[in-house]
């Protein structure tokens, strides 16, 4: 049994679909953040069969977790303080997604404009439809 100790202050992302934790690590820009991260992969789960878990030791306020709602709203977010879970956060679809997904429309200005932020806007919450802010092309790569 692999043991990873608890964290004093931070958050734990549980019930991540097996194999998805590395993507989330990058999408949350944890590689650029000044914090300790434990990535636990392929953990046995009664509910999911296999799952990933991410333990992040830093203040949750420094993180923009909205993107998690877009990636998978079934992920559980546990906020930890003093080694205890003090809050469970529900995920919702973000109104806008910045610099996570890219517009694939070759006619879109994002294909040529230098350093232009990629922005997608939630246009249909029920069907989880996001469209490029600039050309309104639907994102279909999820």
């Amino acid at each position: 049994m692999l043991n990873i100790s608890g964290i004093q202050e931070g958050f734990v992302l549980d019930h991540i679909k097996a194999g998805m934790s590395m993507k989330i690590f990058h999408d949350l820009h944890l590689d650029e953040a000044d914090c300790t991260v434990a990535m636990i992969m392929n953990v046995k789960s009664n509910k999911m069969g296999r799952k990933d878990i991410l333990k992040v030791e830093c203040s949750i306020d420094e993180m923009d977790l909205d993107i998690l709602g877009y990636i998978d709203h079934n992920i559980t977010v546990n906020v930890i303080q003093g080694n205890k879970i003090v809050e469970k956060r529900a995920l919702k679809l973000p109104r806008e997604i910045h610099n996570v997904i890219k517009c694939k429309n070759p006619r879109c200005i994002t294909s040529i404009e230098q350093e232009l932020e990629q922005v997608f806007v939630l246009t249909d919450e029920e069907n989880e439809v996001y469209r490029c802010k600039y050309c309104e092309e639907k994102y279909s790569g999820k």
């Binding site: 429309n105 006619r107 879109c108 200005i109 994002t110 294909s111 040529i112 404009e113 230098q114 232009l116 246009t123 249909d124 439809v129 469209r131 490029c132 802010k133 600039y134 050309c135 309104e136 092309e137 639907k138």
Partner: protein
């Protein structure tokens, strides 16, 4: 400061006010002939367009203002690789308002976020062409008395035709509008217009392939050109360009008070013989385009409030 990116940027009430102003400018041109004296319009056209650019320039001149600009990407700093956001920052220090056409969709929106002057989207790729839509709405209101209670046929390239997309977006806000979408299967309206605009607003519409079939039902027939520049290959363009040609024979099937509109330029989708039909309104439409652009420039420059 306001920009115009989409016809939906103005509420229907604001559009009515804008059209009332255009009416006044049409009826009393002398009242406005010096209203933009000392103001400059920059026409930044990254792809060729004679009509829209000249319409903007004529509008500004009618208001007593001046114009400057470029009419192709080759003659602008874009050829040297300058970004749209840099270009607009510079233009902002030269002019008071900017009309931008760009082949890339969303380029005027990028410009508007970096601009200190009002930016008007004068067409961005296959996406939006709001001033054409204002022209279309104003033409409909001027010739039919009001916008609403109409069956509108849209014919031709409905997939890449930005004028069509903008017009549908704008018309769904009016009472009792029905659409007949007439196009070959390959050039049908994009899914996002069907799903997010027509279906979402419960707008009745049918998609048909034959123009003759639709003619008797229509109050307005909006013809569009199958544009060469929207195709990735020449073969597809040549195969489809002559699909829908309006001629006197087809006009006989139409109602007596139907109106034919076209954003122009026409290639051969409307036979020249139709020009003499009193229902052919496309040249009047071009004239109305100048009045509504005058009203738009005047409004965005906030001339009346100074």
């Amino acid at each position: 400061m306001r920009h115009l990116m989409s016809p939906l940027d103005f509420s229907t009430e604001e559009l009515e006010t804008l059209m009332d102003l255009a009416d006044d400018m049409k009826d009393h041109p002398e009242k406005y002939s010096e209203s933009c004296h000392g103001k400059k319009l920059a026409t930044c056209f990254y792809e060729p367009s004679t009509r829209t650019r000249l319409s903007f320039e004529a509008a500004m001149m009618n208001l007593g203002g001046n114009v400057l600009g470029f009419s192709s990407a080759d003659s602008s700093s874009a050829a040297k690789g300058e970004s749209v956001s840099d270009t607009i920052r510079v233009i902002s220090s030269y002019a008071d308002i900017c009309a931008m056409r760009h082949p890339k969709e969303g380029a005027p929106l990028v410009a508007s976020t970096h601009s200190t002057i009002p930016v008007i989207n004068a067409g961005d790729g296959g996406h939006q062409h709001p001033t054409q839509t204002l022209t279309d709405l104003y033409t409909i209101r001027s010739l039919q008395g009001s916008i609403g209670n109409l069956t509108i046929g849209l014919c031709g390239d409905l997939k890449f035709g930005r004028t069509v997309h903008s017009l549908i977006n704008a018309l769904v806000r009016y009472e009792n509008i029905k659409f007949v979408l007439i196009s070959p299967e390959e050039l049908r309206v994009p899914e996002y217009i069907r799903e997010d605009v027509l279906d979402k607003n419960n707008i009745p519409y049918v998609e048909v392939e034959r123009l003759e079939e639709a003619m008797p039902k229509l109050d307005i027939l909006y013809m569009t050109r199958v544009q060469r520049e929207r195709f990735f290959n020449e073969e597809d363009y040549l195969r489809m360009k002559d699909f829908y040609i309006l001629n006197s024979e087809k006009m006989e099937l139409a109602k007596e008070n139907m109106m034919v509109l076209h954003p122009l330029p026409r290639v051969n989708e409307i036979s020249v013989e139709v020009d003499n039909d009193p229902r052919a309104a496309y040249f009047k439409q071009a004239q109305y385009g100048v009045y509504i652009r005058m009203a738009l420039i005047y409004t965005l420059l906030e001339v009346g409030t100074c």
